[in-house]
């Protein structure tokens, strides 16, 4: 008798859990909101011990989520695969870094302006390079990165190959990362919001139409040039701002840190792995890749293998699930609602 009752109760509880669970899983607002709350409060654990490494990993994730979400705007929605997109990362870092070193104004104040500088630059470059699509474009994006690398290597004013060293902040060690943590958290949220907004806007629709067929888009009255270039500039903004913060975080700004192709490759891979052209794709892709990277680091240590695994992952993704995790799940109608933001 008793066991029947407990069975009934258990079944009842499981049913309620399942319903609540699927409600939670499919409601688009609750889980992301909860995650945001957790992330905002995370630094509190520093009161309980030295979790510097964890804080570092989390804000590293913020950085790359910002970058891959931004890249998604021109790469995913727009269809222009830019393999040199971290030029903007470097531009932002150098802009704020230079002002900090010369005039003492902290990058936390100039970050949003650094983003603007990057975006303006993107606007100009976009006009030139977005004329062609496909492999031509990819190559030009790599060449752009190379040009910048060489230029900044030789530019003595900003340190050449040695770059610039930025002053440390004077917080005690447990709290020195915290300003960067919150700055990057903010940038991440903003860049995700931008991506979501574009995705559901008329601008985004025009952009996606352009990515499929420029000529047909043009004849429906879409100003193809302006939209392409604007998307490119928008994609540069948060990357530039993040670069400014990152420069301060590292306390040095050098060409061989900011203008290396591995950063662009990672940005692109994270977006594609997660699902380019979706809002949550870059987020998932970044998290998965960072986990994967940490795992590799823990087991193998060596950094040359970093490139190997990134490349390997890229090949597997492109061969077997080019729509990425989110894209593939969506295709099979298996995507939980809280990840389905479009």
């Amino acid at each position: 008798m008793v066991s029947n009752q407990t069975e009934l109760i258990m079944l009842g509880v499981m049913k309620i859990l399942k319903e609540k669970g699927s409600f939670l899983l499919n409601n688009k607002k609750i889980i992301p909101f909860l995650i945001l709350i957790v992330l905002t409060g995370l630094p509190i654990i520093q009161f309980f011990g030295n979790y510097n490494y964890l804080i570092h990993i989390v804000l590293f994730s913020f950085l790359y989520i910002t970058m891959s979400s931004s890249w998604n705007i021109i790469g995913g929605y727009g269809g222009f695969i830019s393999l040199g997109h971290n030029v903007f990362f470097g531009i932002g870092a150098y802009f704020s870094g230079f002002i900090f070193v010369r005039y003492g104004i902290s990058p936390f104040i100039t970050a949003l302006i650094a983003g603007l500088v990057a975006a303006l630059f993107g606007f100009v470059v976009g006009f030139i390079t977005l004329r062609v699509k496909g492999p031509s474009y990819i190559i030009s994006s790599i060449a752009l990165l190379m040009i910048f690398r060489i230029l900044f290597d030789r530019w003595e004013l900003i340190g050449g190959t040695h770059g610039m060293t930025l002053p440390h902040n004077t917080f005690p060690v447990e709290w020195s990362k915290i300003p960067h943590y919150y700055a990057l958290l903010l940038l991440m949220v903003l860049s995700i919001y931008l991506s979501w907004y574009i995705r559901h806007s008329k601008f985004g629709l025009a952009l996606r139409s352009i990515s499929h067929d420029e000529i047909k888009s043009a004849v429906t009255g879409i100003n193809v040039k302006i939209i392409k270039v604007t998307a490119y500039a928008l994609s540069a903004y948060f990357i530039g701002a993040a670069g400014a913060i990152w420069g301060d975080y590292l306390t040095y700004v050098r060409p061989n840190i900011f203008f290396i192709i591995l950063i662009a490759a990672n940005m692109v891979l994270m977006c594609i792995l997660g699902g380019k052209g979706t809002v949550t794709g870059p987020i998932i892709g970044t998290i998965v890749m960072i986990f994967f990277n940490e795992f590799i680091l823990a087991y193998f240590g060596a950094t040359e293998l970093n490139i190997f695994f990134t490349g390997f992952l890229m090949i597997i993704t492109l061969m077997y699930f080019p729509e990425g995790i989110v894209g593939s799940l969506k295709k099979r109608k298996l995507l939980p609602g809280f990840l389905d933001w479009g």
Binding site: I81, G134, I138, I139, G311, M314
Partner: protein, 290 residues
């Protein structure tokens, strides 16, 4: 004047080497519309083959060309079978395929860096430090020999493509894949062999590169953009265009390096890429593009 001629001759010699480096890339693009970003790392593989043959058995790098070519060709065929064969079925190129080659480049880079580390290496055969004088003009033997050998290989390739049966099949497949299939060409086989030949050319170029440049695995990033700018000027898919583009840009770059500043010589390649984008916005690859 003397200096000008010297730089010109060196530029041309180097141009032929660049042309060889790029010939395989052009061939593969022409036949399969694959922009192989992994081509430079394959050149470096060839350089490593020559390097180790030189270190271990003292084999002259020029003599190691066939071996380097074969090894890299074999590697290329394996890569093609594993990764590219399924994509090669389409006639039009796609960004995804380019990204695949990019991933492949990273994988090979990672393996080479891990095994051999990123130390700069170069083979140093006896002539690497010798030079001859033609009148007052000083020409290092390394550049001269590599230029000559490159031009011989390129001419051989051109003759093969123009006159041999398989060569014509390759050219036909590049122009109209379906038509080639409909006259009885085994297009899948042609693609495979072309990929192999392209990689063999990369290997051969690598053997030469081993003694005129210092190489290390991560150098391929630099070469990707350089090589792309070479073919872009002449037109992807055209061997003649690639050779012309290579020689012209190499000469200009050498001139800039000698008379303006060595720091800017590589910029010539990247800037020309951009200039072409401005002047010919229809697409870098002209007739070949979509």
């Amino acid at each position: 004047m003397i200096e000008f001629l010297q730089v010109l001759i060196l530029g041309i010699c180097l141009g032929f080497v660049y042309a060889l480096m790029v010939s395989g890339l052009t061939l593969i693009f022409g036949v399969m519309r694959i922009v192989n970003l992994a081509h430079p790392i394959l050149i470096i593989c060839g350089a490593f083959v020559s390097y180790w043959l030189f270190i271990l058995i003292g084999l002259d790098p020029i003599l190691s060309i066939p071996i380097a070519g074969l090894v890299v060709a074999a590697l290329g065929v394996v890569i093609y079978k594993l990764i590219f064969e399924r994509n090669a079925a389409q006639q039009t190129y796609s960004e995804m395929t380019v990204l695949l080659t990019f991933g492949t480049a990273m994988v090979i880079d990672g393996i080479l860096s891990f095994v051999f580390h990123n130390t700069q290496r170069t083979t140093s055969p006896s002539y690497a430090t010798d030079a001859i004088f033609i009148g007052d003009i000083f020409i290092p033997l390394a550049q001269l020999y590599s230029g000559l050998v490159s031009s011989v290989i390129i001419v051989g390739l051109a003759v093969f493509l123009k006159y041999s049966d398989f060569g014509i099949a390759i050219r036909a497949t590049s122009q109209n894949r379906t038509s080639a299939e409909l006259v009885g060409v085994n297009v899948k086989f042609v693609c495979l062999i072309s990929f192999g030949i392209g990689c063999a050319l990369a290997g051969a170029a690598g053997a030469l590169v081993s003694f005129i440049f210092s190489f290390f695995p991560s150098r391929h990033w630099e070469w990707i953009a350089i090589m792309m700018s070479l073919v872009v000027l002449g037109g992807m898919g055209s061997l003649k265009g690639a050779v012309i583009g290579a020689i012209v840009l190499s000469v200009v770059s050498s001139m800039v390096g000698a008379f303006i500043s060595p720091a800017w010589s590589t910029m010539v390649f990247f800037l020309s890429l951009f200039l072409i984008l401005i002047i010919r916005p229809k697409g870098l690859f002209g007739i070949q593009s979509d």
